[in-house]
């Protein structure tokens, strides 16, 4: 191996080590478990860390107070549900029955305290509701 290749190899190794460290640090700081409501309620190891939960907003007892920047609702899974208190700007697409992703942590009272709420209503891109075809006006 000539001098040149040795230098390149060392430079490459240094870059590799630096990047691995960055990736490790980034993952430590940036990763969040992405869970369905049922997975979350069954497995207590997730109850003491920040997670991202995906589920449907329950149709009952939804209290959205945009002016107070809070929303209280139940996040529904197939067989279980989690009470959620969200503080922040309520997205336009938030409504009962809507599919949402919330990020946050469970508190001592068993309420999921969240400060990130993303709505993902599939219906905004595709809707086949024929009844809506009728002109209401």
């Amino acid at each position: 191996m000539n001098h040149m290749k040795v230098k390149l190899l060392i430079a490459g190794l240094l870059v590799g080590v630096a990047l691995t460290y960055l990736a490790y640090a980034g993952v430590q700081k940036g990763w969040v478990y992405y869970l369905q409501v049922d997975q979350f309620t069954q497995d207590t190891q997730y109850h003491s860390q920040r997670v991202r939960l995906c589920g449907k907003v329950g149709t009952e007892n939804v209290v959205a107070q945009p002016a107070q920047l809070t929303a209280t609702f139940s996040l529904m899974g197939d067989s279980s549900q989690v009470p959620v208190v969200y503080r922040g700007v309520i997205p336009d697409l938030f409504k009962p029955g809507c599919e949402v992703v919330v990020e946050g942590q469970l508190d001592e009272q068993g309420v999921f305290q969240s400060n990130v709420l993303m709505t993902k209503c599939a219906s905004k891109y595709s809707g086949d509701h024929i009844e809506r075809l009728e002109n209401k006006s």
Binding site: P66, K124, L133
Partner: protein, 687 residues
């Protein structure tokens, strides 16, 4: 009438493209000129038929044919004509049709280009002097035809926009759902087609690569032919990404322009590898090296474009704005698999690259910088790719999908972007040939001095944040370097040619579009990075609750809520807050954030009030309100985004630079030879 036109022309387009592929393969196999001519005819017919299908869908949308499910889902009678056109690509089926049409149009342009310089057609139907060229063209066409056929078939069988449904009534009693209010924005008209032109544009270099590989080409001429397609595709992809970021900024109301969402990442991935390609093909062209690397990058970029379309359209990854899960995923996976395996087999087994690369000296020279640029860009691609599909990967290891958030990307990608910016800043001082650190340092003396001085001034003025100091230093280094290099060259030309300053400058720039266009692109990228750094490091955000008449102080402004009102306009009702703004410098302004309730959708739509400036933007949204009986509190979200305008300015500079790099020399290089009197000509030629 429209339904049969659409369906039949799509079906025939599949047949024509597939027939074209067969004919092109025959042309390759038997060196048959007639077969190549037929391949071209069939593919042009396919392009025509795809155009017809697009015309049918457009006619259906514009003429309110709500018996088409697609039209009913994305359009309505009251929609302005501009948004009716945009409704064409608002849904999955239509946007795939647009992709297919752009690809078909590019195939037609490619055929036109091939014909213009055909070695065969000039030699009267024979093969011509260059069998490589002939076979290469045949396979290039076959690949284009194959991709065309795939998209047309995909639309026909899995995402057909021409599916009809019985209507519940007749006449004007029937109306469509209308376009999603978030898509009723001028940015949304331009963003998807621009991205698709970029995506489809990267198909042509891929087809040329497969052609060159299959024909067993050993020279580097073909890589030159890919350059203009690469630049063209790269430009549209870049503009598409910036337009998308601007749309997100203005329309989504969360104050940002990039969220590392899978859909955004999908467009960034081929952009990163495409950027690497634009640099590494220069090494192949000038230094006869990086051959296998370039082949891999071209194929990788194309596959990432297809992957991006797949990711966006199939719903395989949970994202805030993907389309719902759909059957097209399997088609895409199969197609990507075939392309990947085929390309790998061709690169490995056929070995047209048996010619070894010229040995390069890698170090403090241009070759070294290009290599480093490529490594960084590919590492960034790998990072973003892994982060994007991490929910899929992690299921195998932990049994749970784990998603990585923006901190991961910011921590890993941004340092690499900064290193890339430093290489860009050194650009003009780097030369091909032997590595010479001392010479490079001498050429960088003045820019380095400038960067040190500027960083010192920034420090004295109170800037302490390390990333922002680094961006300042690198940006100033780059700007001084570009202008220093220009002035030195200009001075040399003036001394050597005794030309006047203006003509020396114009000639210098016009003689080297690639160099100065490229530097303009680099300056644009630096502006963009300054905007990203400023807005992400120093943004301030607050949510306030005010009653009419109350004031609050925020980031040097006094914000007073004057009133909250309701107003009926066109097809929506708006609730609007009037916010009076007073700056420290005595400047006042009124901002009107509002929430719109469109007649056709249940969801409200926030409209941001934006005070734009080259130093900072003030971004106000109306988050919520109570009726006067309940207290009348109004919640506002206010965000200060420093330097964000430089992202859009950088995008414009980048566009101008790329266009300049693509245009041929504008001025005659040498003065016209003086007219020689006829008598002298006769004398000179001995008549």
């Amino acid at each position: 009438m429209i339904e049969p036109i659409g369906t039949y022309s799509l079906s025939l387009a599949v047949v024509a493209a597939a027939g074209g592929v067969l004919a092109a393969i025959m042309a390759f196999r038997f060196d048959s000129h007639a077969a190549l001519v037929w391949a071209r005819r069939l593919m042009l017919a396919g392009a025509g038929l795809t155009t017809l299908a697009c015309g049918a869908l457009m006619a259906a949308i514009i003429n309110d044919h709500f018996e088409f499910t697609y039209v009913a889902n994305y359009s309505e009678r009251a929609l302005p004509i501009g948004y009716k056109i945009a409704a064409f690509w608002a849904g999955q089926a239509g946007s795939l049709l647009l992709w297919a049409w752009i690809l078909a149009a590019m195939t037609a342009v490619l055929i036109h280009n091939q014909k213009g310089s055909d070695p065969i057609s000039r030699s009267g139907g024979k093969m011509g002097s260059d069998p490589f060229c002939f076979r290469e063209r045949a396979i290039t066409l076959a690949v284009m035809g194959g991709v065309n056929a795939f998209f047309a078939a995909l639309i026909l069988f899995a995402a057909n926009p021409f599916i009809t449904q019985p209507l519940p009534g007749t006449g004007t009693a029937v109306d469509g759902h209308g376009l999603n209010p978030m898509l009723q924005d001028p940015g949304m008209i331009a963003h998807p087609p621009t991205l698709f032109i970029g995506y489809a544009g990267f198909t042509v270099p891929f087809a040329m690569l497969i052609g060159a590989l299959a024909a067993g080409r050993k020279d580097d001429a073909w890589i030159l032919a890919t350059r203009k397609w690469l630049l063209f595709a790269w430009l549209f992809l870049s503009v598409g990404i910036v337009l998308g970021a601007q749309w997100a900024y203005i329309e989504l109301g969360w104050g940002g322009y990039w969220a590392w969402d899978p859909v955004e990442n999908a467009s960034l991935l081929p952009w990163l590898t495409g950027t690497a390609l634009l640099h590494s093909i220069m090494v192949q062209q000038y230094r006869k090296s990086f051959r296998v690397w370039n082949a891999t990058l071209i194929a990788g970029t194309f596959l990432l474009c297809i992957f991006g379309t797949y990711l966006t359209r199939s719903g395989v990854i949970q994202s805030v704005h993907t389309f719902p899960e759909s059957p097209i995923g399997r088609f895409f996976l199969a197609f990507m698999g075939v392309c990947l395996v085929g390309t790998v087999i061709l690169i490995v087994a056929r070995r047209p690259y048996r010619l070894s690369d010229t040995a390069l000296e890698i170090g403090f020279n241009r070759e070294g910088a290009f290599l480093a640029t490529n490594i960084l860009l590919v590492l960034m691609t790998a990072t973003v790719l892994v982060g994007t599909i991490y929910p899929l990967i992690s299921v195998f290891f932990t049994g749970q999908p784990v998603s990585v958030g923006p901190p991961f990307y910011n921590k890993v990608v941004l340092p690499m972007a900064l290193a890339l910016l430093a290489l860009m800043a050194m650009g003009p001082a780097l030369t091909y040939g032997p590595s010479d650190a001392k010479r490079l340092f001498m050429r960088l003396r003045l820019p380095l001095a400038g960067a040190t001085a500027a960083t010192g001034v920034a420090w004295v003025m109170g800037l302490r944040e390390p990333w922002s100091l680094a961006v300042t230093a690198i940006t100033v280094l780059g700007i001084v370097n570009v202008f220093n290099d220009m002035l030195v060259t200009w001075w040399k030309i003036m001394r050597a040619t005794k030309a006047n300053p203006v003509s020396a400058m114009t000639r210098m720039i016009d003689d080297n579009h690639r160099r100065y266009g490229g530097q303009l692109v680099h300056l644009g990228m630096m502006m963009l990075m300054v905007g990203v750094a400023g807005s992400s490091l120093f943004n301030e955000k607050t949510t306030v609750q005010l009653k009419p008449g109350e004031s609050t102080a925020f980031a040097g402004y006094t914000m007073t809520l004057e009133k909250l009102g309701e107003e009926r306009r066109g097809n929506y009702t708006a609730v609007q807050a009037t916010v009076h703004l007073a700056g420290k410098d005595g400047v006042t302004n009124t901002l009107l954030p509002e929430v719109r309730y469109y007649d056709k959708t249940e969801q409200p739509n926030s409209q941001v009030a934006l005070e734009m400036g080259w130093k900072r933007d003030l971004y106000v949204t109306l988050a919520g309100w109570e009726s006067p009986e309940n207290g009348g509190t109004v919640a506002l979200q206010a965000i200060i985004n420093p330097l964000v305008s430089w992202i859009w300015i950088g995008g414009i500079v980048l566009t101008v630079g790329t266009i300049f790099a693509m245009t041929p020399k504008l001025l005659q290089q040498h003065p016209q030879p003086q007219t020689i009197p006829a008598s002298q000509t006769e004398f000179a030629t001995g008549k």
